[in-house]
Amino acid sequence: MGNPALSFVAIELLTGLATAAVLFLVSCGLSLIFGVTRIVNFAHGSFYMLGAYIAYSLVSRAGGPVGFWGGLLLASAAVGLIGVAMEVFVLRRLYGGPELFPLLATFGVVLVVEDAVLAIWGPQDLLGPRAPGLKGAIEVFGHRFPSYELFLIALGVGVAGGLWLLVHRTRWGTLVRAATQDWEMVGALGVRQATLFTGVFFVGAFLAGLGGAVQLPLEAADHQMDLSIIIEAFVVVVVGGMGSIAGAFLASVIIGELQTFGILVFPKLTLVLIFVVMAVVLVIRPQGLLGRPQPEAGMNRAVEVGTGAGFQVPAVLLYTLCALVLAVPLVSGNYGRVVLTEVATLSLFAASLYFMMGPGGLVSFGHAAYFGLGAYGVALLVAKLGWGMAAALAAAGVLAGVGALVFGWFCVRLSGVYFAMLTLAFAQMVWAAAVQWDALTGGDNGVLGVWPAPWAGNKLVFCYLALGLCGGCVALLRRVLRAPFGYTLRAGRDSALRCDAIGIDVRRHQWLAFSLAGLFAGISGGLYALSKGGVFPTVMSVSRSIDAIVMVLLGGLETMAGSPVGAAVFTGLREQIGSLTDYWRAVVGAIIIALVIAFPRGIVGFIGARAARLAQGGR
């Protein structure tokens, strides 16, 4: 190949394939697990991270080729067993329940693993030794190309082939494919699903661990690798088609190449780019490139826990509670006021998510986008343009509402997991813009000097302002749910088909609910920015979106009153635990897991069910 430009492209293609290979190792397991168990496994990134860290410990202790390659395999097997443990001790208790709960439990595992890694390996980045026998480079098209990366490409292809044989040429694979289509029927034919699921988790976790382990000689193991890989792997799985291994292979290549060439062509847009691709694929071909259309969207069914019906919080209790909350700032110090302000803003944030998630059945993984739009809206208007507080807050709500109107138009065309993934993609785009568009947003430095108007500058006054505004907004949302609009929304969630048949435009109602939820999330975000005096891209990170889901589920999906309770409990826990230990994430994670297993109906739902039982004569 004489042409230098062409051979450069060829080398970059190879580099992209090496990236794709590792991505495939992680995402094929994710896809396999989703296909069979219908669980969106957030902990898959943690498996990848554990693979890297465990491999580091093994490889740096035992030297030589046997130590190195044996260490990588041993690390992968160890991670496989950790995956088995997660399935047996946590997830197995949740099958047959709402489908969101296993997902939340896996997020709890993510938090626990993050802190476990911190405790065991410390905060520093760890770079592993280079692979014995593959330290050099090979001449390819007149360029030197690292032989280890060639090995990665071969490994990726080999694993893809091996996995294909396993799934298409063994009895186990036949059962897995049958279970992917109809696991209940497989059970009725005498196959114990739990054993099958455990095996699937072992294979998935093993491959993710292998992905992390083989990455070690290239990039240092660090504490962000779990979330960064899981987002990419989600993109791959969604683009390729949930449950399709061939799809995961194809999509890994596309995303790997896109990242490699994206850095060369649009260095500022790399983060946005892959999410644009995902959004485009989801809108044009919702089931992914090689996925099969799903007749029933998993997650809609997942959240129906008798939502909205039955249990109502007694009015007396509600007013007493409100009065108590209103009395707190008077007696508490400034610290208490600050915490209460945060609880108020997060209550509105959680309630706005509840609005679409409970009665609407729309589980968003990217609600933080609208919180962030509101926060950045207020911050930029106040700090850069000198707007007044009230006008900026109103404008923030409008900005977030318009954002939700635009993104929502795309999102409501999908349902279930695909809906959730598209909301996540949009949220990541907004987040990436905040990080990379530093001329406007200040990048990672954020926007500072965002203070409330002088009359509200006092912590006590601002606390009441937040309580009043958020309380009013929550009451308004609650009122909307009791209007015909709210009933229609529920009807659309419970049976979109029947609603269509009687002439209700379900999609339009969902779109409106999405936009309203975005608008109120924007207001809460604006208040949050004012209370903190500034904003950073973290206001709309993935974990904030997950926090919101956790708050809603903590409160329970049966009543809107649950969401503020969930927000209060979540914030309180984090504050309390944060003051006691550095490992608050692990504790919060463990609490999430425990709550999901012990209180599947949320705190308020649980109390409601107990109250109903007592009323029935204490059965």
């Binding site: 009895r171 036949t174 059962l175 494919r177 289509q181 059970g187 009725a188 005498g190 196959v191 099969r292």
Partner: protein, 233 residues
């Protein structure tokens, strides 16, 4: 062989089965007759464990099986063929049979792929075909064949004649008789009276989740006026 007493099953608040009683002896073909929504399918699903009855007793060979998960019930020797067939359309005919394959069981007819294809010759002709490419009748045969591969002693058949052409229905009836002659016990949910009469030894008439009438097929034929109203649409 199968004995059901005082069975009550709910879907949410809806009471589907009320104090249902059934007795099935070895080697019999017992028909559950009833309209759509009468509770026939729910009865079969309660036995296999796909729905959980609130109370009552289900005994198989004297052993209580209520509350067991479907896989455990299946492993005791009860085969279930659902009304919607639930064929694995992504798999071939052979792979569908493979999913159903279980070890042989003493006291129950043993099935191999060859014996299955002797019973259903046209399945043998399309063994590598994807199940999605089969007609309704072929899918019904595959659904039965797949369950037989588990070597059940008792077969629960949910409306095998539903939606099939008359010619195929009579082949289904012949198949049920052949299975009976193999020594298999069959419980059949059916609303097609003629099909029931072709294959059944005894029948229970179900309406609104209760047994309204029961007897041998000849007894039932004799006093048809007393129960026919339960089947009329």
């Amino acid at each position: 062989m199968l004995s059901v007493r005082g069975l009550n099953t709910f879907y949410g608040q809806a009471h589907i089965l009320s104090d249902l009683e059934l007795e099935v002896a070895r080697g019999e073909v017992v028909v559950l007759l009833g309209r759509n929504g009468a509770g026939k399918s729910t009865t079969l699903k309660s036995v296999i464990g796909l729905v959980r009855p609130v109370c009552g007793e289900i005994r198989f060979h004297g052993r209580s099986i209520r509350g067991l998960p479907p896989y455990a019930v299946s492993r005791l020797g009860i085969g279930y063929v659902p009304e919607e067939r639930r064929i694995f359309t992504e798999l071939t005919v052979m792979e569908n049979l493979e999913v159903g394959r279980r070890p042989a069981r003493p006291g129950a007819p043993g099935w191999t792929v060859d014996r299955i294809f002797a019973l259903f010759p046209n399945l043998g002709e399309m063994r590598w075909r994807g199940a999605a490419m089969m007609s309704g009748g072929e899918q019904q045969m595959l659904a039965v064949a797949r369950t037989l591969m588990g070597n059940p002693a008792l077969l629960l058949l949910d409306e095998p004649s539903e939606g099939l052409a008359p010619l195929i229905v009579s082949r289904m009836a012949q198949m049920v008789r052949e299975l009976k002659s193999e020594g298999l016990t069959v419980v059949l949910a059916e609303q097609n009276l003629r099909f029931a009469a072709l294959v059944g030894d005894r029948a229970y008439v179900i309406e609104k989740g209760r047994i309204r009438h029961s007897g041998t097929m000849t007894q039932l034929a004799a006093d048809e006026p007393s129960w026919a109203a339960y089947l009329a649409v």
